[in-house]
């Protein structure tokens, strides 16, 4: 039940956010200061999502093969590889590291 409530709530929130600009604000622009804050929500949250996924509750999920995989993703992406290819390289690196560590 909790899952369904969350899914529906996220759907409503997303729909509302997308509708708000064209439906309510029309051609008016948001105040500049709100644009600046909204623009920084993404990097802040994305960094937090990476951290949360990697460290886990009380840092109990920290896993070296995952860190190696993420380093691989970053390296491949820096070589201008497409997103999916970079992620695939990281997945393979993680699997190989786990295989090597046993």
């Amino acid at each position: 039940m909790t899952l369904w409530v969350a899914i529906i709530a996220v759907a409503v929130v997303s729909l509302t956010i997308k509708a708000a600009g064209p439906g309510v604000l029309g051609e008016r622009q948001l105040p500049a200061w709100t644009q600046d804050v909204i623009a920084l929500l993404a990097p802040a949250l994305l960094a937090a999502l990476v951290v949360v996924d990697v460290v886990g509750p009380r840092w109990t999920s920290l896993d070296w093969p995952v860190l190696g995989g993420l380093a691989t993703v970053a390296g491949v992406r820096l070589l201008k590889a497409p997103m999916l290819l970079a992620i695939l390289a990281g997945v393979i690196a993680t699997a190989l590291l786990r295989l090597a560590i046993g």
């Binding site: 899952l3 369904w4 969350a6 899914i7 709530a9 996220v10 759907a11 929130v13 997303s14 729909l15 956010i17 997308k18 509708a19 708000a20 600009g21 064209p22 309510v24 604000l25 029309g26 008016r28 622009q29 948001l30 500049a32 200061w33 644009q35 600046d36 804050v37 909204i38 623009a39 920084l40 929500l41 993404a42 990097p43 802040a44 949250l45 994305l46 960094a47 937090a48 999502l49 990476v50 951290v51 949360v52 996924d53 990697v54 460290v55 886990g56 509750p57 009380r58 093969p65 995989g69 993703v73 992406r77 497409p82 997103m83 992620i87 990281g90 997945v91 393979i92 699997a95 786990r98």
Partner: protein, 295 residues
């Protein structure tokens, strides 16, 4: 925040721009450097549209001296769908991983499918899954909603290009997903409505179908971990983050502070609350608002 833009955050603006160039219709130039799009830290390369923008591939092209006929709405819609096919392919693959991972987290079969169908946002769905696994509904919904907050300024930016009254514009605004928004950007704040809609209508079924494939053919959790599939979520976020980090020094500072806040909070609170706490880093945007875009 488009961050991936892929809402599909998943397919990414840069990929959309590549597709646009691949179709040979647009002469690109990076006007985004000088004209940041409101609220969008991850700016897309914008493009100028010559007279035959949106001409279907393979169509006979006029001689340079001949007067150019503007593309019809139907041609631009088809052109948008052509761009959307490439975005949809990437979305399909990413959706498979989403379906497989949330199935492993105990979402069952129906919930992932409904989620993809009605949320249709890779970034929000991945954030929801990550936050739900470590916290309650409110933090999870808040985190997913904040991730999608970028659609507010993106929606404002396309508003003038849409048609009809408030209701119709609000409905048409649902076509704003990251890749489509980038593909429809004509430059200097103008958007191609038909191209936007065309690019989105082919991504939605791909996103839902990919989720179904992931759900029904999901490997057991132990096998998934052995194969390194548990890396997909953080890797996805990392790639999007790297795109964000290129936009400005403030973005890099916000990412550093946000990550540090989350790391510290993970010692004492569930994941969802840690994510919400990390958004305080966005308040950096209130400081000295000039000269932030450097790309």
């Amino acid at each position: 925040m488009p961050v991936t833009h892929y809402d599909c955050y998943h397919s990414g603006m840069s990929d959309a721009s590549k597709d646009r160039r691949r179709h040979g219709r647009l002469a690109s130039r990076d006007v985004a450097k000088g004209h940041p799009v409101p609220g969008s830290a991850r700016l897309c390369p914008a493009a100028e549209v010559p007279g035959r923008a949106g001409t279907p591939d393979g169509a006979e092209r006029p001689s340079p001296a001949a007067p150019e006929r503007p593309a019809s709405p139907r041609e631009r819609l088809i052109g948008g769908m052509g761009v959307g096919v490439g975005l949809a392919a990437a979305a399909f693959v990413l959706a498979i991983t989403f379906g497989a991972m949330v199935r492993a987290q105990g979402w069952g079969i129906a919930a992932p499918l409904v989620c993809s169908a009605i949320v249709f946002s890779g970034s929000a769905q991945f954030a929801l899954a990550s936050a739900l696994s470590g916290g309650g509904v409110v933090p999870a919904v808040t985190a997913a909603g904040l991730i999608n907050a970028r659609f507010l300024p993106m929606g404002v930016s396309v508003a003038a290009s849409l048609r009809g009254g408030r209701l119709r514009r609000a409905i048409e605004g649902q076509a704003v997903v990251d890749g489509s928004w980038a593909a429809a950007h004509l430059g200097e704040g103008r958007f191609d409505r038909e191209r936007l809609i065309g690019a989105t209508v082919v991504q939605w079924p791909a996103w839902v179908a990919g989720t179904a494939v992931g759900v029904f053919f999901a490997p057991p959790a132990r096998i998934a971990e052995m194969l390194g599939l548990d890396l997909v979520f953080p890797a996805f976020f990392l790639v999007l983050l790297m795109d964000e980090l290129r936009t400005s020094a403030k973005a890099r500072l916000a990412a550093g502070v946000g990550g540090a806040i989350a790391a510290a909070l993970m010692w004492v609170v569930p994941a969802g609350l840690a994510l919400i706490g990390s958004t305080m880093a966005a308040l950096i945007g209130l400081r000295g608002r000039s000269g932030t875009v450097e790309r």
